[in-house]
């Protein structure tokens, strides 16, 4: 990998949203010119020509004030304007529009939109785990506890959960989550790592994203007038860049080594850290393992080096480990940062570390229910108190997400009636994902100009592909980044919705996209065949 000197701090690399403009982002199609308003004045100077159809249809008679909104583009929170989240950006918005056009009978060269933009397993046909849904419905409708068709192990879990939440999942829980669930999570972590885990260090959220934001927010204090710097991989999962913008933090991008299976290179960490110090106080290092969007799985020695680097520079580690069950490469396995830090001994076993987990990924894929947790290791007890206080105004994470997390961390035991079926469903789901990840890599690498690293884990592949100079010119003429231009064209011509690499970050001059490996096998083959045809046509068109 070339070591270009690129500092990426606070929105330093071009964003998909900015590059692509608002093309396709046609929510409530409005015509608007930027009103001529001083940023330091509270009074609009010139009326904007914003057209609010709601107002118009309801009160055509009246005028004036509809154009002088109290909250408008010019006085809305700047951090909100800056943030972007490409996974649900303009490409998805356009994909949704196309879906509606198809429903209305529009003729397209394809019959359906294939949403490979997001790790949404059930939407792609993955079946929910039976046991998990049984426990969930027993807690929702406790009368079912009298139904003999439910297995006893599902009932015993539901009874314990109902008792913990005082008879109804409609009750609020502790803001950190139910104690019983947090204890099961601690036990799950102990079983995984062979290292003690204390449930008081664990809190739950509405998905891992929620938990990540709750911890990241704590770092939003400026010191010496400089924001906290957060090191994130490039490519990264854009929740991080979005939250960094929202909280006014500084983004420090470190490039993953594409030529070395997306490994994490310590020299590159040093480079990006050093270059960032002018503009921020680096305090956080985010590592996503298994990687999103890259699919890399870090080996143990790489994790040791990262820990040593973080210790040397006093960085708080965010270990995004939501794909810990999604390991496909038989030659590697998941090592938690906590386990490696602990086994390295002092001083590494005292490093501050947050590890995140979700019910949305793995073999569960229960994205819509929203459940996640964070384990905070070696964190200052006063910080824990303040964290607890900061999440308490939101009352509690959804109890049903907690119920699912309880099942995930307290699965049927070998002597229980649901054991065999549960393990079989889990194994088959993961095997099928492994098979599809291999299929995706093989088929992508058969396309001229494509180069895809093996998908060792997670749910994505992030192929690199070449774009002919003429296409790059065409993209520039449209004010789009070349990869976004490519992804839009792919969507319009094939119905395949992927996310352009610029939404995750990539080395300048390289082009990628992220696709999930979630479409079922036959659909995946059709999709990849269609992609290949598109690419060949694209090359011809712009050669």
């Amino acid at each position: 990998m070339s070591r270009k000197s690129v500092v990426i701090a606070a929105a330093g690399w071009p964003r998909a949203w900015e590059r692509g403009g608002l093309i396709g982002a046609g929510v409530g199609a409005t015509v608007r010119t930027r009103p001529n308003r001083s940023r330091t004045s509270n009074v609009p100077v010139v009326q904007s020509v914003a057209v609010d159809t709601t107002v118009l249809s309801r009160a055509m008679a009246s005028t004036a004030s509809s154009n002088m909104k109290i909250l408008n583009e010019d006085n809305i929170y700047e951090n909100i304007k800056k943030m972007e989240y490409a996974v649900r950006g303009p490409l998805l918005i356009r994909a949704n529009e196309i879906e509606k056009e198809l429903q209305k009978g529009a003729k397209k060269p394809f019959k359906e939109v294939l949403k490979a933009n997001i790790g949404d397993a059930h939407a792609m046909g993955q079946k929910p785990i039976t046991f998990l849904r049984q426990v969930l419905s027993l807690t929702v409708l406790p009368d079912l506890l009298n139904d003999p068709s439910y297995p006893e192990d599902a009932k015993s879990r539901a009874r314990a959960l109902l008792q913990a939440c005082r008879g109804s999942v409609g009750c609020y829980t502790d803001s950190m989550g139910l104690e019983i669930v947090r204890k099961h999570i601690a036990q799950y972590i102990e079983n995984r790592d062979g290292i003690p885990s204390n449930y008081e260090n664990i809190f739950m959220g509405n998905g891992a994203s929620d938990a990540i934001k709750s911890v990241l927010k704590l770092f939003a204090e400026k010191i010496n007038n400089k924001p906290t710097g957060v090191m994130i991989p490039i490519p990264q999962y854009p929740l991080y860049s979005a939250s960094i913008s929202e909280f006014g933090l500084a983004e420090i991008g470190y490039f993953l080594d594409e030529d070395n299976k997306w490994a994490l290179n310590i020299a590159e960490l040093e480079r990006s850290l050093n270059e960032s110090k002018k503009s921020c106080n680096p305090r956080v290092l985010v590592v996503i393992n298994p990687g999103n969007p890259t699919g890399q799985v870090l080996n143990r020695s790489n994790i040791e080096d990262i820990l040593k680097f973080a210790h040397k520079h006093q960085l708080f580690i965010f270990a995004d480990e939501v794909y810990q069950d999604n390991i496909y490469d038989k030659n590697c396995c998941f090592h938690s940062f906590k386990k490696v830090a602990s086994e390295l001994g002092a001083p590494y076993n005292q490093m501050e570390l947050a590890s995140f987990m979700s019910i949305s990924k793995g073999y569960m894929g229960e994205c819509g229910i929203r459940g996640g947790y964070a384990e905070l290791i070696n964190v200052d007890p006063t910080v824990m108190q303040l964290l607890r206080k900061s999440i308490s105004a939101m009352l509690c994470p959804t109890v049903l997400g907690q119920v699912v997390m309880d099942v995930v961390t307290n699965t049927p035991k070998p002597n229980e009636p649901s054991y065999v079926k549960f393990e079989e469903e889990k194994r088959n789901t993961l095997l099928s994902l492994a098979e599809r990840s291999q299929l995706a890599v093989d088929m992508l690498n058969s396309i001229p100009g494509y180069k895809t690293n093996p998908s060792m884990g997670a749910m994505y592949v992030f192929p690199r592909f070449e774009i002919p100079p003429k296409a790059i010119e065409a993209a520039k003429a449209k004010g789009q980044s070349p990869d976004l231009f490519y992804a839009f064209k792919l969507l319009e011509e094939t119905g395949i919705c992927v996310i352009a690499g610029s939404g995750f970050g990539q080395l300048p001059g390289t082009y990628h996209f992220r696709t999930t490996i979630l479409p079922q096998k036959e659909k995946m083959k059709t999709m990849l065949t269609s992609l290949k045809e598109f690419h060949l046509k694209f090359l011809k068109e712009y050669s």
Copy 2:
């Protein structure tokens, strides 16, 4: 009400958390002195004596770095330190401790802790609505659609919802919520108000709190170096003060008129607004109707006056209308701000307004499931786009909260099989709440020194009571506000957990607490009798 000149901007009134110190806030009991560290320095000067038991137990051998945390009390985000949420503050933390002590066999003058601190209906014995839970379990476990024991109307709703979420509630939805649910919400609002509602102006959240924070956050921009001022009632629901702190906004408290059934007095609004202008740019007016913690229900002419005031001063209205179903006074009814603004005609029908609703309150009480919505009226379309973008990184609100909101806004129709039972359960729940609210007011007013306004709506009473001078001295000696001192003593001696008035705000020199009206009738009688005995003893002790 006396018109004391009290400006309440950015933490202007003493907070329960500050007043009460951390007494009772014994999370992970730690001994800690504030390290002598310059706020502008990144390097700790003197080691704190924080005791992290996790570290100690795991790595007794090593020392030094455990006391020099990367994230600590001195560099954590200041806004997080400032925020407080009394409903889950030190009183609840102590109540939870007492519960554990009782479980371990501790002898107390009571057998159980009665948590009247929070509007958690199911926890107090209210039964879930059958139809609602049926639809929920049918969506969780679609096999139940073949079970003949479920009514057809529950099945038809579940089928429609499952189709909308592509077969599984485990799928992500649009970040704003499922279109089908948002359309039912719009229809519900239209039926309620007789005014059109557009589903594109509606978005859902994990509870109303989530939706409120998402909109409030948009105002966090400083203009002319001054924060946006947010007018909130005093007493208020502390989600507002907590979020105002978190987002760096300025709090402008306006006193509700206790002597006039907690009505909203326009002269007081003018006073507080005018006094705040030195330190902030007032842009938002929050009104909670029906009132929390006051239980007042605004009459129509009061709402008209408030709208005119907001229009005159260009304020964006937050109408917190989560208790819209909880009206107990037969002489009043709920008027939505949207309806009144619309019927006032131009220019009021063009005012920017956000209305919030929840599945946690009303007759549903489904707090733990987390579901809420905001309807945004007359909001700038670019702001709507930015709002959509800002919530997209959190993917979507829990689908099961959306399912419950669907039922709440699309209840069984007169020709459907569940109609009679549904309406009966709803009516009985609301009647029982009305009865208990009357009971609470009557019994509280029978206590010497207590004065309680009628509970016209919502789920709380907020009695005013006198504290003898000797008790005030005793409180001061403990560094607590007198009402917090009283509430702690009440908790320790009776097991009743209420929230001191200082957590909601009150006129200086007056003392209140908030209790819910949710304990079932007999328990409520016992609780109020016990409270009366406590108060008489308290008076004797400090007279």
